[in-house]
Subunit: 447 residues, 2 copies
């Protein structure tokens, strides 16, 4: 059903009090679309339209609702009505919702859950944010190694409704340690009497529960996995992270790095939803820091006041020289920040990449010198043209090398290389640009 | 097996001529790891180690080899030896390899394939780069609607070895039009005599073959799909794009946008592999363009030469004022570029986001003014302090509004909003900064 048609259908059903008749019409609507359509309605109507669905689908649609709407419903709808949905939600989505509630709201909700669900919820929500534990789910399929393929498929058939995926099953020993993985595809192709133990892969890819979530996503991408098993320090299976969550994590990490390249702090909410106060707080820190960085450029200019007073024409070239230095630095810095984030480049590659960058930057510098030498002749005469050309060559080189090296330096200091943002590199390159320019001018013009 | 252990094992086997005995040891090594280990060896040894594996796995490992290595093998290994691997490769990986070969190399390889494979290959590789067609595979499972669940599972069991996935099956009518989708999970849970038609989802999510690949990836992420069916203009099924390819596309698109934020052109290869010449070509264009953009800032300074000559102290504040304008602009620009790319923000949101940005920028401007007023008093006295404070307030506001608006403007003109890079915004904001600063100074200082 097309999205506007869906919303209109829902609106009409509400008006005519026929929401209870919707079920058959909605059967093939994707839960993500239904959730998106629901957000067009106020909370009370949203709740009416949500509860029209069969119970299992209610939980699925609820999981696709924006976090704020989930919290809004968790607060306004009575615990008795909401509990069945919360119970049906996938374990990781339930833990996410739980983490967004206040302590008081949590205490209201918890008694609505069965003991086992409560313990699972508390266990899942206890993991540190940003780790595998915080994004994993406990709804995974486990098989004992001694089952036959026929028995294993029967187990999966029975458990399927409660599991996030049955396409990958995890084989654990009696100590719940992960000893293998087997796919439903392999099970379906194998002889019915074969043992799971003989069929499974004995060396599965897995991750520790405290691994940063971006590395979890990278493992899933590298090995093209449907799900990655997560183990604790004893190699006991504690959860899985699925491919769709990995994709969300990768997108969120990319957004965070994007924002960092422009000195914006980590935004938990979307830009659209963020308040003026929140955006202000995420942006002001580096803007102010960089002002003080730029004082050095100002001091550089002040130091060469005499040179400038004698040759005011030099000022004409100041913006383009320091901007070129900063722009070249932003280029090489951004290349390295992204390459370090994707794993294309490692810390140990710095040396030879610096060598390569010298080559690239020298070519860029020569081109840029050629581009400005005519301008120098026209606006300042032959002497200033020489000064501008030499300076351009040097500032592009210096800016590029600073830009290339800063992400490695930050990484070496165990800081996030993405902090080597364009504005930070530009500020550093600016100082170098000012000092180089006026030093060369003072020397060449014999002042 | 740990990665260094794996490489050492392979090295020893080569030395002792026991590579043919490796097979049992390698059974549980992931093909991605085996491929990565192979790249440590020269082509001839690589080929020996590759052909130790069973045929089906050879093709899988070959698919994980870097594109350059695949091409190298395709050129150096005889057609007769290589053909069995090429035949076993998944259709989309085969088409990718084919697209990397020269016309002559293609002509050598094509006769090694059967007629059907040849036609499939030519069809797949004909799609325009960057579209759904260019990343889809033709190895998908199809079911006729009239089959029973039992029959359907039997069909999938038989076809599984040749299909990219059997977890999603596509139901097509006699004209090959897509009429439904059914998951293996649903098939396994359903009664054996139920018809596929009754079980399937009649309103599947699908994409057109010419949809840009980033939108394909976005659909897969939004609906948490394992695979997305791709249809032609007649709604006939022509391929699927799988979740792992979607993840690769999303990462590649993010990298491309990252590079654009720093005015770097689209790099086909990794930064590590890119030659000096290639990096130079991808970086020089915008660097030179921006030089000419900065001439306006230079001209602005030249225009106000008298003001500057009278108050040389003004120059001290020039870098920090224009940098702050550019930095604030880079922040709001980057926020919008990313939000437009992820779909968080749409073109129609510009108006009210501009309103919100006025609020954020005013707060930022006030803070920045407060941060520099003391510096103004100290370095320039009360008059210059007032000029600097007023200018700071205004340039942060103007820079932010330029940064916010430029991505929308580019998007409106059907250009990629990511072209609104930090350096471009900075260059524009610089001009505004220079003119505002010296205009206010000229006016306030009564020159």
């Amino acid at each position: 059903m097309e999205f506007p048609v869906l919303i209109e259908t829902l609106r009409i059903a509400l008006e005519h009090n026929t929401a209870h008749l919707l079920r058959a019409q909605l059967e093939d609507v994707h839960p993500a679309d239904y959730a998106a359509a629901l957000t067009e309605f106020p909370t009370a109507q949203l709740w009416t339209l949500l509860t029209v669905l069969p119970r299992a689908e209610q939980a699925e649609v609820f999981g696709y609702l924006p976090a704020e709407v989930q919290v809004e419903l968790a607060i306004t709808i009575s615990r008795r009505k909401l509990a069945p949905i919360i119970r049906q939600m996938s374990a990781d989505e339930r833990a996410d919702l739980f983490n967004r509630l206040t302590a008081e709201q949590r205490d209201t909700l918890l008694p609505a859950l069965a003991q086992a669900e409560r313990e699972d919820l508390l266990r899942l929500s206890a993991h540190e944010e940003g780790t595998a534990g915080a994004i994993m789910t406990s709804d995974y399929a486990i098989l004992p190694p001694e089952l036959t393929v026929r028995e294993a498929i029967e187990v999966l058939r029975l458990e399927a409704p409660d599991k996030e995926t049955i396409y990958s099953s995890y084989v654990v020993d009696q100590a719940r340690q992960l000893i293998g993985v087997v796919s439903l595809r392999e099970l379906i192709l194998a002889p019915a009497n074969m043992r799971v133990e003989a069929l499974m892969n004995h060396d599965p890819i897995y991750a520790a529960v405290d691994l940063p979530q971006e590395e979890v996503a990278a493992l899933i991408a590298k090995y093209d996995l449907l799900a990655l098993p997560i183990v604790n320090a004893e190699r006991q299976m504690v959860g899985i992270v699925t491919h769709d969550d990995a994709m969300d994590v990768a997108a969120a990490e990319a957004t965070e790095d994007f924002h960092k390249t422009a000195t914006i702090g980590k935004l938990e909410s979307s830009v659209k939803q963020a308040s003026i106060g929140l955006l202000y707080r995420k942006r002001v820190f580096w803007l102010v820091i960089l002002v003080f960085g730029n004082i050095f450029s100002g001091a550089g200019i002040a130091y060469f006041e005499e040179t400038i007073a004698s040759y005011l024409a030099l000022l004409f070239f100041l913006p383009l020289l320091i901007a070129s230095s900063g722009n070249a630095g932003a280029q090489s810095g951004t290349l390295m920040v992204r390459a370090l984030a994707t794993g294309d480049v490692k810390l140990k590659d710095w040396g030879w990449l610096l060598g390569k960058e010298c080559g690239v930057a020298a070519l860029l510098g020569l081109t840029m010198s050629a581009a400005v030498v005519g301008l120098g002749l026209w606006r300042g005469g032959p002497d200033i043209a020489v000064v501008v050309a030499i300076t351009m060559m040097l500032v592009v080189l210096v800016g590029s090398l600073i830009g290339l090296s800063l992400p490695f330096l930050l990484s070496r200091l165990k800081l996030d290389p993405a902090t080597a943002s364009g504005p930070l590199i530009t500020s550093i390159a600016d100082v170098a640009g000012v000092v180089l320019y006026f030093s060369i001018a003072t020397w060449y013009l014999g002042l």
